[in-house]
């Protein structure tokens, strides 16, 4: 199996190398053939792994591939761990990646960087697979940073665009802030376990309960809490949790296929995956879980609000991604890791679908992204229309759609939780349901319904996208519709994650929720006794009233509540604050240190100053500098003199 597992990430890598270096030589068609073959092969192997591990019940595979480095008594290994959690990620990543590869043939058809793009997305797939298959923190961090780098390259894909190259740098740096915490967390793990292997860390974690470390002053901090929060800061960067969320909306500068693959379905969920993988550690610190819960609920609700006022089709979906990542984080906070992973999976399908559908609309509208200039596309683009509808219904949690199961379970889990912060989180996630329903259908109605606001030429030429675009939409619509129904019993309430995810029985909210669970159909009927479904319906109806029935209402509200809109449009001032304080502040600080510290004090006062005060020697040095070699000889004599002096005095 080792060879097979090794091939899973390396097939896309090989394809990426071939297209990256020889793309021009082998041409466009061969480039996409090679990369698609690589990912398809990887997907096929993942399916095989699914049957082997999940269906066949093979024991967890945990082997080293090679030894990266040995130092002291720490072994740094590169290796794979394949269990049910890994297999789920393998299938999601490879499936979405394959869809995006195929879709790209259509979307990037006229782009000069065609081969480069395929090379990047295959490289991304490799990095992401290395991340999810890792059995140790080193490789996890490698994958973690590698996906970030490819994301950097892809956001800046249109390298002539000033906004794109600003956005990619911002994305990388904000992620680095998260990684800063992450690497310290890893260092902490190494400090207490002298190993980077997951299994060692998990085994050692319970022995650290109650241990403290001294960080500030005399205060003793619980070691596990510190480590968990540090690791989670990494997750906040990658999974875009406030206040490190600022990069994700800007990342929409990249081409749409990567928004679907990287900035919705896979990379941004790495943080969620990581915390789930580390559940044996996180479960030991209630403080850290509370922290996670608060961060998640803030992101889930407040980032959703911003989505309500966005007019760029991709940005609406981006804010919805932020909000949904918040939901997953909330689930982690209440120890409902399975629910987080389940939502991660369903979200990957329907959010990739929504992004790709948005891309399809963008193609049809000749790269117009403003939803105020769209409308009435329903008849023109039936496949995009219907798949978008499925995606939107899944997103808002319409009963029986896959998002319904995952989101409702999270809400129920928060409701059942007693961890500090759970009551606030409950209102946040419930409020988020309305917000999600509203902005999703605001977008949907503005794009597909009503009379068109596009100019006549664009609208007349708008047509359904080619098959390479619509087929991935259809293939993604199927799991968006069904995957929840099919898997919910096993993944959330069954034993899919048994032995993989650990939950303290005292905090096992999913078990509590599961007491009333009797199959997916009963779960639907059960949902009608709870409020979430009605709140979602209210959101859809509000959107319908505002944007179809009485479009004058939003304008009227805007005249009365414009200040609210402006707060949201300014994204609560996060960007301006970061730009003013961190970006400009650092450069100004550097400037000051350079001119005052280096040039004025060290060079001015000390170096040149001492040269002047020595006077005679400085004068001599200045005299002899005309002849370079001579100068050296002079210096040598000085050295000899010093040496002789020393001898004489001893």
């Amino acid at each position: 199996m080792k060879l097979l597992y090794t091939l899973i990430p390396f097939a896309p890598l090989l394809a990426a190398i071939v297209t990256g270096f020889f793309g021009r030589r082998i041409g466009r068609i061969n480039s996409h053939r090679v990369t698609i073959a690589g990912v398809a092969f990887s997907l096929a192997l993942s399916v095989y792994a699914f049957f082997h591990v999940v269906v066949g019940g093979a024991p967890t595979f945990n082997e080293s591939l090679y030894t990266w480095l040995v130092s002291g008594n720490i072994r740094f290994e590169i290796g794979f761990m394949v269990d049910n959690l890994t297999v789920m990620m393998l299938l999601v990543v490879n499936f979405v990646s394959l869809m995006v590869h195929i879709y790209t043939i259509g979307y990037m058809h006229d782009d000069d960087g065609y081969q480069r793009f395929f090379s990047y997305i295959s490289l991304f797939t490799f990095s992401m697979l290395m991340l999810v298959m890792s059995n140790n923190f080193l490789q996890l961090f490698f994958g973690w940073e590698a996906v970030g780098t490819v994301s950097y390259l892809l956001i800046g894909f249109y390298y002539k665009k000033e906004t794109a190259i600003f956005a990619n740098m911002k994305a990388f740096l904000v992620n680095r802030v998260g990684d800063f915490g992450f690497v310290l967390g890893i260092a902490g793990i190494v400090m207490y376990t002298d190993s980077l292997a997951y299994t060692d860390a998990f085994a050692a974690a319970p022995t650290l309960v109650g241990e403290t470390m001294n960080i500030v002053g005399g205060a003793e901090w619980d070691v596990l809490t510190v480590l968990c929060i540090l690791l989670f800061i990494g997750a906040m960067g990658k999974s875009a949790q406030a206040p490190l969320h600022v990069w994700l909306p800007d990342s929409m500068e990249g081409p749409t296929p990567i928004s679907a693959l990287i900035h919705a379905a896979t990379m941004v969920t790495a943080g969620i995956f990581m915390v789930s993988r580390m559940s044996p550690i996180f479960e030991l610190s209630e403080t850290a879980l509370s922290f996670i819960l608060i961060v998640g609920s803030f992101t889930a609700f407040f980032m959703g609000l911003i989505g309500m006022v966005q007019n760029d089709i991709k940005r609406v979906v981006a804010y919805s991604t932020l909000s949904q990542l918040g939901y997953m984080t909330v689930a982690l906070g209440v120890s409902a890791y399975s629910a987080a992973m389940f939502h991660l999976m369903t979200h990957a399908f329907f959010k990739a679908l929504l992004f790709l559908a948005a891309g399809s609309v963008i193609i049809a509208m000749h790269h117009e992204q403003d939803i105020r200039k769209m409308g009435g596309l329903r008849k023109k683009m039936p496949i995009t229309y219907w798949t978008s509808l499925i995606g939107s219904l899944a997103l808002i949690g319409f009963p029986a759609f896959s998002g319904f199961y995952s989101k409702d379970i999270i809400i129920e889990a928060v409701h059942a939780s007693t961890i500090p912060g759970a009551n606030i989180a409950y209102w946040a996630v419930l409020g988020g349901v309305f917000v999600t329903a509203f902005y999703s259908f605001r977008l949907f109605f503005l794009v597909f319904h009503g009379k068109t606001r596009a100019d006549k030429h664009t609208f007349d030429h708008a047509e359904e996208s080619p098959k390479v675009v619509t087929i991935p939409l259809i293939l993604l619509a199927i799991p968006s519709l069904l995957i929840g129904f099919v898997t919910v019993s096993a993944v959330v309430f069954g034993d899919y994650f048994e032995g993989v995810i650990f939950v303290d029985p005292a905090r096992d909210v999913l078990a509590k929720v599961g007491e009333t669970y009797h199959g997916p159909i009963q779960f639907i009927s059960h949902a009608f006794h709870a409020s979430a479904v009605y709140i979602a319906a209210a959101g859809v109806i509000t959107a319908f009233v505002f944007y179809i029935l009485a479009p004058s209402i939003p304008a009227f509200l805007d005249s009365k509540l414009g200040f609210l809109r402006r707060i949201l449009e300014n994204k609560y001032g996060f960007d301006d604050f970061n730009q003013a304080v961190f970006a400009r502040g650092s450069v100004a600080l550097g400037q000051q240190l350079w001119s005052k510290g280096d040039m004025a004090v060290i060079d001015g006062a000390l170096v040149n100053g001492s040269a002047k005060s020595v006077g005679l020697i400085a004068g001599l040095a200045r005299n002899v500098q005309s002849g370079m070699l001579f100068h050296y000889a002079f210096a040598m004599i000085l050295g000899l003199l010093a040496m002789l002096t020393w001898f004489l005095f001893i």
């Binding site: 130092s71 002539k160 190259i165 990388f172 680095r176 310290l184 370079m628 070699l629 010093a642 040496m643």
Partner: protein, 484 residues
């Protein structure tokens, strides 16, 4: 062994000869790696000839796991340097290449000397060719830069000479291994440590004696910068490991907090300073200082761990420091060569004079982005390995040391990527950028070879790690045993 190398690297009169000599030197140095016995900390490939018998000075050379990788780095960089100078240097190329060849021989001498006086002679002698390289082929302000460079470093090394002679008087031998065993009391160790510190801190350079480096780099020709950053700075780090630590272990332990603090200042303070630079070479020079801060940090954090009896962490810190030196050798050389490639075409180092280089030089841009990422410590490149190890070791010592050290993740990425954004990315900045031609085959191989090494060490650092364990363990043994 090294004797053959020095003869082989004598003054050459033609490019081809220099090329052949450098490749030959590199090939001759390879058996050092492949024939290296990784199980022992003893010196290998030793030679010992009486040199100045009346002063008891011997031509004693040999390598161990700490010096050997540095020697390979030196010979390797020399090949790159010859490639880089191929068409670029029109003015007296023979002397230019000759200076570099001599330089290589001297630097190998520094890394292989087992006699303190021999070490001192090599250490000092490297100044001459570098002085000439900057002084003759340098930029407009080369005179100020050379004098500053020279005086700064010379002042430091004189102190070292005094210490060496003092120890000879005490112990009657210049042999490095004898000096390691020399019993010294607290006060003696303290002064000896300070004397060596003066020499090595300037060389590395540590804050606050670093200001010669940006000036020297800016004025130096491309290859001069590459050698300066890639190898000359390493002589300082190597000096700590070969002299300061084993000779004055108690003083080193006593000074560890001070050394850690100034290392951290190098990492953080210089990181901010780098952010404010407008000249690419200055930016990379400051970035070098910041990265070399990790070398001294890794070395001195070890003493905090000895105090905690965490020997595994000690080795981690010191090996991290060594790997950081090797890695920085490749990456800084590559970064300076990248700037050189652009300078050869546009004759400016100002960031503001560029913009959108990727449009006209896509292959070059790919290299530049790759090396920039390596400079920012991306896992999978060599830049990550040493920093990661030192951060791990620092965390074991103290949370806040690791905290400040890890800030390089943000700062390093910020100054490097911001430069990349302004220089490489964006629309074509001006007519000069529009007229650029992409790198030729020579430049491709020059950068390509470096890229291969950067990747190799990043993906499989054990290739260096393996050879140094025995020597580092021996060093750890030496520094954890008190001398009185």
């Amino acid at each position: 062994m090294a004797g053959i190398l020095i003869i082989a690297t004598g003054n050459s009169s033609a490019r081809k000869f220099a090329m052949a000599a450098s490749i030959l030197t590199f090939l001759v140095s390879l058996p050092l790696y492949f024939g290296f016995d990784t199980s022992t900390a003893a010196m290998q490939f030793t030679e010992n000839v009486a040199w100045l018998p009346s002063f008891d000075v011997n031509y004693a050379i040999g390598v161990d796991g700490i010096s050997m990788p540095l020697i390979i780095l030196t010979t390797m960089i020399n090949v790159i340097v010859v490639i880089s100078a191929w068409e670029v240097i029109k003015d007296r190329p023979a002397v230019y290449l000759g200076a570099f060849s001599i330089m290589t021989g001297l630097m190998i001498g520094v890394f292989s000397s087992l006699d303190a006086i021999l070490f001192y002679v090599f250490f000092e002698a490297t100044l001459i060719p570098m002085f000439l390289i900057i002084g003759i082929w340098g930029g407009p302000k080369r005179v100020y830069a050379t004098v500053k460079f020279f005086l700064y470093t010379f002042l430091g090394s004189v102190m070292m000479l005094i210490a060496i002679i003092y120890m000879y008087v005490e112990g009657g031998s210049f042999s490095v291994l004898d000096l390691h065993a020399l019993a010294l009391n607290e006060q003696q160790q303290f002064w000896i440590f300070l004397a060596f510190l003066a020499a090595f801190a300037v060389k590395i350079p540590m804050w606050p004696v670093h200001t010669w480096l940006p000036d020297a780099h800016v004025e130096a020709p491309t290859a001069g910068s590459a050698v300066l950053a890639a190898i000359m700075l390493k002589m300082g780090g190597y000096g700590f490991l070969r002299f300061s630590l084993p000779i004055a272990p108690d003083a080193s332990a006593g000074m560890d907090t001070f050394m850690i603090v100034i290392s951290l200042i190098a990492v953080v303070y210089i990181g901010f300073v780098a952010l404010a630079q407008r000249d690419m070479k200055k930016l990379i020079a400051y970035s070098s200082i910041s990265h070399m801060g990790f070398v001294t940090l890794g070395i001195f954090v070890a003493f905090q761990l000895i105090a905690k009896d965490d020997m595994s962490g000690v080795a981690l810190g010191i090996e991290g420091a060594i790997i950081q030196m090797i890695s920085h050798g490749f990456i800084s050389a590559a970064m300076f060569l990248c700037v050189g490639v652009m300078y050869d075409r546009v004759h400016s180092r100002e960031i503001a004079d560029y913009g959108g280089v990727i449009n006209t030089m896509p292959i070059f841009a790919a290299f530049m982005v790759f090396f920039a990422m390596a400079n920012a410590g991306l896992p999978g490149t060599s830049g990550f390995v040493g920093e990661f190890m030192v951060i791990l070791a620092s965390f074991k010592a103290n949370f806040w040391i690791a905290f400040l050290a890890a800030s390089t993740l943000i700062l390093g990425a910020a100054y490097t990527l911001w430069m990349v954004k302004r220089v490489i990315m964006g629309p074509v900045g001006n007519d000069k950028v529009a007229a650029l031609t992409d790198i030729n085959t020579r430049e491709f191989w020059m950068l390509g070879l470096l890229a291969i090494f950067v990747l190799l060490i990043g993906v499989w650092p054990n290739v260096i790690g393996n050879v140094m364990h025995a020597s580092v363990d021996n060093l750890v043994q030496q520094i954890s045993t008190t001398k009185y």
